[in-house]
């Protein structure tokens, strides 16, 4: 056992309580804010020496100087003279520690006087109640980082039952932007989860929404791992390597040629799947894109009518010139056109109780969706989606929405999360537990502002997701500005370096001033953790993720610039059939419009046929080559005799 490093002290002015105590140490002791200590009581209770575990939350230092003026006088007002004093003043290091745990736990009494020791690894496990889930048979510990103080290096574990449910769930990360803390922490935690999540608890996967920059775009590429990080990886029992199974999903650009993602370099396209939806998929979430000003009760009724009676159904009506089967935005527009023309012919103002103005308005708004979400929503109705129903264990699914308009981002988020939820409810997603990572919660679930569909969904996950196995890992810069029910339902909270303004908000009042100061100056790779088992926040270090960082990836795999249609087709088809060449693509597509070529590409990508060339070529309509007809020889006109102008 190490030597005592301090002694508990208590005065009438500063008494010890069951939740807080004070101790002093030598000036050079390795104690600081966040250090975990153990107090060994002097008097046994029921034959047992009490042990109290605490974490340092405040520190004081002072000398026997009664007034600063005395020091000024003592050195004749010259600070440089102070260095010549023969003696340093008597000085104290006095610390306040918050109690983490008392053993025995009953009766709960004020902390007794006693010696203070630096907590060793075993002490840390007891102090943080990790012993309950690290014991033989339980073993639900997920390493989150290493606690370091003095010579102690202790692995800190989160309890999987409290991180992914069913006891508690969800995780929220706060930290200033630009320090790579939030994304790095999530990447590291996912790696640790995939490695340590107990097999007997079932399969697990993650869906990450990449909402900005290229940070999540290279999860399958190896990154730089420093020597110090390797030590941490070894200690934490995780191999420093990139994720083995990552699937990327991204919509096309508005032109529809290239994928709208930072990861559209040809070398990385093998696990990138286009994300495209048609009318059916979008109409279900029209509410996301149409705000309340757009959709009043009348418009809502018409949309419901369309959803229930028009889409994917044979629809006949005396007003219409033909039978419609609406499967795409193009079909829908044709249907609207037919309805409106029919009403004009009859000079009617309403059709099936829907006023012509309402019909025009809904047509305008719905048709507009394919424009606003171009690249994601296809007129043709082609669908390429996440593999709902066949999610694979320990796989990360990244949906890159970083370059999309806000509407498209909202639509993607709302639909994917809804589908995930539906499948988890039916237990047919493919995995038992699913982590959904969403950054920029300040934007998607703000504490104030309009009650958007996305915010409602996030609230729903936060409040009910854990029963389904749907766990929200969320991140933001300003926790105080996120909806309270979202952060409040996060059982685990991580804090990186914080902004001073944010720390001054009431939500952080429970932290001591010293802890807040430490939070404002945290280095990269350091986190403060709150977890249901920990009665006080704990500071840990975590290793830099062993995946390629966004900036490095963007440099090594530059984003593809605008390319020609032929090159775009070649790029997406060649992974399916390496024998495809640019001249072949040019020959096949030469006679067709851009829209037709893209439609053929989408169909081929969706079908992934054995014979790619044949399938792709079969998507085009037959065109008879244009043959210029030979000009028929006209009978020669007899020339009129000069003397007979009438030809007689």
């Amino acid at each position: 056992m190490s030597d005592a490093l301090g002694r508990v002290v208590a005065t009438e002015r500063k008494p010890n309580t069951p939740h807080e105590f004070h101790f002093w140490t030598a000036i050079d002791s390795p104690v600081g804010i966040g250090t975990i200590v153990r107090v060994d009581g002097a008097q046994p209770m029921d034959g047992q020496i009490p042990h109290i575990y605490g974490i340092v939350v405040e520190g004081f230092s002072y000398t026997d100087l009664q007034s600063p003026m005395h020091d000024v006088l003592g050195h004749d007002g010259l600070p440089t003279m102070a260095g010549y004093a023969s003696t340093e003043r008597a000085e104290i290091r006095l610390y306040t520690a918050a109690v983490l745990r008392q053993i025995p736990e009953e009766p709960l009494q004020p902390v007794p006087m006693g010696q203070v020791f630096l907590a060793e690894e075993a002490d840390v496990q007891i102090a943080l109640r990790m012993d309950s889930y690290l014991r033989e048979g339980a073993n639900t510990g997920i390493p989150i980082g290493v606690y370091r103080a003095g010579g102690t290096d202790a692995v800190i574990y989160l309890d999987a039952d409290f991180l992914l449910g069913p006891e508690a769930a969800h995780l929220n990360i706060t930290g200033v932007s630009g320090l790579a803390t939030k994304t790095s922490a999530v990447e590291w935690l996912l790696a640790s989860l995939f490695k340590h999540f107990p097999e007997d608890k079932g399969s697990i996967a993650a869906v990450c929404f990449n909402v900005k920059g290229p940070d999540l775009c290279y999860l399958d590429q190896p990154g730089k791992v420093e020597e110090t990080d390797e030590v941490l990886y070894d200690k934490l029992g995780v191999e420093p390597k990139p994720f083995e199974r990552v699937e990327y999903f991204a919509p096309y650009t508005a032109k529809g040629l290239a994928l709208n993602t930072f990861r559209n370099n040809e070398a990385l396209l093998d696990n990138v799947t286009p994300l495209t939806w048609g009318l059916r998929e979008v109409l279900q979430f029209a509410e996301v894109l149409l705000n309340k000003d757009d959709v009043d009760a009348k418009a809502d009724a018409l949309i419901d009518f369309i959803k229930e009676n028009i889409v994917d159904k044979e629809f006949r009506d005396p007003v219409l010139t033909k039978t419609h089967r609406v499967q795409s935005f193009s079909d829908l527009d044709a249907w609207f056109r037919d309805v409106l023309q029919g009403m004009e012919k009859k000079d009617g103002e309403s059709w099936r109780t829907h006023h012509v103005a309402t019909i025009r308005k809904v047509r305008n708004r719905l048709s507009n969706i394919s424009t606003r979400c171009a690249g994601l929503v296809t007129d043709s109705g082609a669908v390429s989606d996440l593999p709902f129903g066949s999610f694979a264990d320990r796989t990360v699914y990244v949906v890159d929405v970083a370059n999309l308009e806000e509407d498209a981002q909202d639509l993607i988020f709302a639909r994917i999360v809804s589908k995930l939820r539906e499948h988890l409810e039916r237990r047919d997603l493919g995995v038992k537990h699913l982590v959904v990572f969403v950054d920029e919660l300040n934007k998607y679930a703000p504490g104030d502002g309009a009650d958007t569909y996305v915010r409602k969904m996030l609230l729903d996950i936060a409040e009910r997701g854990r029963y389904l196995g749907l766990v929200l890992f969320s991140a933001q810069q300003f926790r105080s500005q996120v909806h309270r029910r979202v952060v409040g339902n996060s059982g685990t909270a991580l804090f990186g370096r914080m902004d001073a303004d944010e720390l001054s908000t009431p939500g952080y009042a429970v932290l001591s001033l010293a802890t807040r100061t430490k939070l404002a100056t945290l280095e990269k790779g350091q986190l403060m953790i709150r977890h249901p088992h920990f009665t006080q926040p704990i500071f840990v270090r975590f290793p830099r993720p062993s995946v390629m960082q966004g900036r490095e990836g963007a440099e090594r795999y530059p984003q593809a610039s605008d390319i020609s249609l032929d090159a775009a087709i070649l790029r997406v088809l060649r992974p399916l059939d390496p024998t495809i060449t640019l001249p072949w693509v040019q020959e096949i597509t030469a006679l067709y419009t851009e829209e037709e070529v893209i439609r053929a590409r989408n169909a081929t990508l969706l079908a992934r046929p054995d014979n790619v060339k044949a399938y792709f070529a079969a998507q085009f309509r037959k065109i008879v080559p244009v043959q210029t007809p030979a000009r028929p020889m006209a009978a020669s006109i007899k020339s009129a005799p000069e003397n007979d102008p009438y030809g007689f």
Partner: protein, 335 residues
Amino acid sequence: MLVSNSGPDTQSRAAVRLLMQRLPGLSPVETGTSKEPIATADPPILRSAQIVEGSAVRAIRIPGSSRETASGFGGFLDGTQTVQVVAHHQGMPIVIGSVSAAVRVRVNRRMTTWGHQPPRVERAMYLPLRYIPTLTAVDASSVAAQANCRIVDTSTADRNGEYPSQHPAVLLDRAIRAVDQQREELEDRLAEAWCARGEAPLFIDGGISRTASVASSTCAIGVIKSHRTLYVQGDALAIVMGLKRGERSSIFRVAPRSRSSVLSWYLRLRAPDGHDAMWGLVRVEVAECDRPSERADEISRWVMAETTPLSLPDGRWDKMAYGVRDCEEFLRAIS
């Protein structure tokens, strides 16, 4: 030397309770009355001393004294005492005296307790057994054993065989003088132990002439802050009172009866402008040596160097070295 005036502590109260069981008429004093050492009541006097440096006392500027001067002191010795009248029996004062002494050494400019001799804390009950006949010597011994303190009889006969008066003030004076002597004994024992090891020069708060081994040691330097006895007369007095900051007097020899002879000089630590004449004035005592002038200059530089940091808020900060204050604060904490 620190004189505490705190009320009776737990141990004192326990001793009084034990005594009350044997002396039914004992009246405890609830608010402990602290008494000053008897020396402060001695009348101020001027004494002549043999001048060692030159033929007359003069003011000498200490050469080479500056703020950058390093002090050669390696440790500081001081003692404290508390004298409390805790009860009286038919007017006879019953006193509990507590004395302590410690050496604090300086390591890397920080003060710490000397490891070779632990600090001493002793406690005794002073009572006039002769005038409390109902309390037998056996009873007194029993109380002492249970209260974990010595019993000192303040009514014993003096060298001439005369018993003290029954006047409570006389008996109280005797108790105070006994406590005072007890503290000096503790200090002397520590000083002897330090000098026996021949360590670095020791800054002793007070004189060094009480014991021969200390008075003759080059390790012991006494610095006296009180000047009830001034070893200058006539013109020399004016010269000493007129010393400026950084000046010392000529060296003279102090040879009190029953004590060892030592060399001494006055030293002005702080400018007295606007203060009384004794402001910042100390008297330094060292052992006899071959080149006293050089020794006095060197020691004076060291003592001057000890004027920072200030020993405020102690009222004697103009004369007190910070190391001595540290000793007193340490003893206050442990006694």
